[in-house]
Subunit: 144 residues, 2 copies
DNA sequence: GCAAACTGATTTGCACACAAACAAGTTTGC
DNA sequence: GCAAACTTGTTTGTGTGCAAATCAGTTTGC
């Protein structure tokens, strides 16, 4: 059984582990994004995109729609508010809720950079052919 | 030209963007990991795995070998040191360097959880067949 | 042989990211 | 009708992750 023999441990190749690969690909993607769109981060842009798609949302729902927990979305909304890209207002229907909406500045920024955001996605996937990109995306979506 | 018409902006589907998908897949992977291996984080385990593979390394080189910048690896090494899984010592050859090595406790933890770490990777990829996993990994590696 | 360039480590500041605990408000079940 | 259960938002604590500045030490070029 040789439980104490180090040589009997399974081979663990860090470079082949999905988590490590995901982290490195994400690092490259974030670098491409911040180079192309220095005004906001990827998460901040996700919030702008969702608000533009869905209209004003409560802060918690906005978090769920952008895959951020309550503590994270609060920080993101705070920073976007400070930069003037979103506004917040209490919901008269439900006094627990804080409604978050895109401001005119947020609309303008979105219009200005949405094309670049698409280019960032394309740039991240640049090493792959069109069909490889489709394959990769489809496979990743099954892991969500 | 209709520059001011919002309807003329390109379609940006957040759910189809590679960065957003990567973030969500990573979230799921981190959740699986922390459930299976609560003792350390993914990045901390990456450090243990590299030290076991390569032996003692300077802190900066260890960072490069685990895809962390100097500020990040310092924090990770500090936390691993506090938990007793690594030890640090000045390098007599180069007085700028801080050599990081796996401790006996680190070796023991690694031996105890490496099998679980492999199971975490398998679990993350569980929705895919063996050949799909190989395809996904190969495609992702081309994006690093 | 020594100044310039480089490398290693640290610190600060900012931005996610999640867990846990809490307060306030709303809904539900009986 | 009202207590229990749930939801929303906030705060605190911990852990990445990167940029930029700084200091100490090493290497290089002339």
């Amino acid at each position: 059984m040789e439980k104490t023999d180090p040589a009997s441990l399974p081979d663990y190749l860090l470079d082949d582990q999905i988590g490590y690969i995901l982290r490195r690909v994400t690092q490259r993607h974030l670098a491409i994004f911040s180079e192309a769109i220095p005004q906001v981060t990827t998460t901040q842009f996700a919030v702008l995109a969702r608000l533009r798609q869905l209209g004003p949302l409560s802060q918690n729902l906005l978090g769920r729609e952008t895959a951020m927990d309550a503590a994270t979305i609060k920080g993101v909304v705070d920073r976007l508010t400070r930069q003037g890209y979103v506004t917040t207002a209490p919901d008269p229907e439900d006094r627990r809720r804080l409604t978050v909406a895109l401001s005119a500045e947020g609309e303008a920024l979105y219009a200005q950079v949405v094309g670049k955001a698409l280019a960032v996605s394309a740039s991240t996937l640049d090493p792959l052919s069109a069909s490889e990109r489709a394959t990769l995306t489809a496979l990743l979506l099954r892991l969500v």
